[in-house]
Amino acid sequence: MKLWKPLLTVIFLGSGFLYAQNRELLYDCTEIPQALLLNPGMETSFTWYAGIPLASGIYAQAGSSGITVNDLFANDGVDFNQKVRTRALNGMTKRDEFGATVQIDIFNGGFRSRSNPELFYSFGVYFETNTILYWPEDLAYLAFEGNADQLGRRFDLGHLKTRGEGLTVFHFGINKVIDRNLTVGARVKVYSGIYDFHSSTNSGYFLTEEGQNNLLSNTLVADMQLRTSGIEGIRAILDDEASGTVGGVLTKRALLGGDLGLGVDLGFTYHLDPQTVITGSLLDLGFVYHSGDVKGYSLQGRATTEGVEAILPDAFDDANSDFWQDLVDEIEAQLPFEDNNTSYLTFRPTQLYGSIRYNFGEPVNEDMDCDCDIGVTDADVRTPFRNATGLQLHAVNRPRGPQAALTAFYLRRFGNFLSLKGTYTVDKFSMSNLGLGMNLQAGPVNFYVLANNLLGYRNLADSRYASFQIGLNILSWGANR
């Protein structure tokens, strides 16, 4: 059991703190191959590319909407319990969240069709883990303060919402230039679920009020459910209840030996005029069917108790009965806590990206027109401008409904070897999220590093949000057409 607790901690906390998944710096960065994962309909001018295994795309995002590490753990001399009460218990609501996304490319590559250069194929495998935990406002209050002197207050059990998953994604995408103005793409994904936990449709309440007979009445109305997959087997190994190794189980489940699912990404790029471009993509429109190593827990029903009751003369008939055990049995019958091994389906957190971009300035290759006839086919892709600015929208489906972010960006290209992208993003986590990305092209070597919420880097512990992405690819431009 000692090993089991750290594992849970890693799943909940170590995998990060945020789930927003917005990758505004990478989106529509046409020089970076991994941007195809955010829009399979992105304009591409690669002939081929090959990501360096395990290094072509490393992405991590972490944060919380209501509190920072510094708020609680700053070495400021303030009593820790006081900080927890004022900044967490009284400072956060059920809409505040902790979450995380980590994504690591295992391998990634792409090539342009020789016979039909309008087509570009990309493929790869990546590992992804997501975790989200909404602040269980009422349950936290109940844990810290209890139900005493709270007559009539309904502690909402629906405040408990959490979800987490780890999975390997095998993907294959096709990008097609329809004509000079339109590029579309699609990506098929096969999900191999490693672990999943899911408790996001809870409802009910706990209520203490004056009793009808006795002094107090406690009522629990619950419709709660926790579903897990891929966790019970690991727990059994860690608790020495099963043979095998955790590594063996994880590897097997990561390589299509766990829960399987199917999904698709769709995207497009369209030129409204030579300098104005709109893009859009819909990602992870899919599901995972959890059928292996499934364990579910439920608490459903309604029970009210005013303690042990003996009402005479009827109680004389039960003089030898165990009033306490009868009470416990009655509550358990009315409010059964059960477990099961029922398979279940989860839908992936579908994401939507959209952007409008205005290109301006001189073309990167100054001896060409900005709208000249070079491209993947004879006349399809345009030479990029030195500058681009625009807006991006990102929305993701979350347990408490869609969550959106709006980004303004400026992109500057310096010759063929360097481009920088600056962003300003507004979302529920931050109104001061400035990001900066650099894409460096040194011969066939492509390296990029993207970092978000730069102001937070003054004191990372006081930042509610941080993300970074790095990647290394080998790629070839334009020749094989």
Binding site: A143, N147, L312
Partner: protein
Amino acid sequence: MKKFHYGLFFICLAVASCVEQQNFDQFDDLEIIPTVEASILYVESPESVINDASGAVWYIQTFNFDAFNEQFFADNVLDGVITYELENTTSKPLEILFEYLDDGGNILDSEFFSLDPAPTAVLRRETAYGTPTGRNLDIIRNTSGVRVNASNLGDTTSISILPDPMVIFRSSGKFRLRLK
């Protein structure tokens, strides 16, 4: 040279990021001590039951009550208060003895209530355990049963003029638990 400048810029950016000193040992100081309250025992008896009894002791009953010596509760309880509320609308003076028993049936503690005949005010009493002036908390921790012993000090024929005359015993507990 330009490449060098840009590279330098990013290196400076990376170096400029910092983390103010954090003291994660503070977590050890965290105290989670909720106060929980719930009813314990309710007993009611109409006056007719008292009149029908053959002796002075008209009701004696031992109730199994494992809530207090459940491992979780016994290990974490810090202190608490038990509230009693008794109401007598019968025509008789009554005595009620409420006893706390351990696993072996030994008496750990007791509360004695003397109730005047109706009309009488509701008798309310609060008894603290584990506080500096309260009784020993081990009484609560070791309680696995309670016994109610009710005696009639009056006659067995009179009926109160109040509607639906009866004696009611109510009780609840409010305890602080250390979860961390």
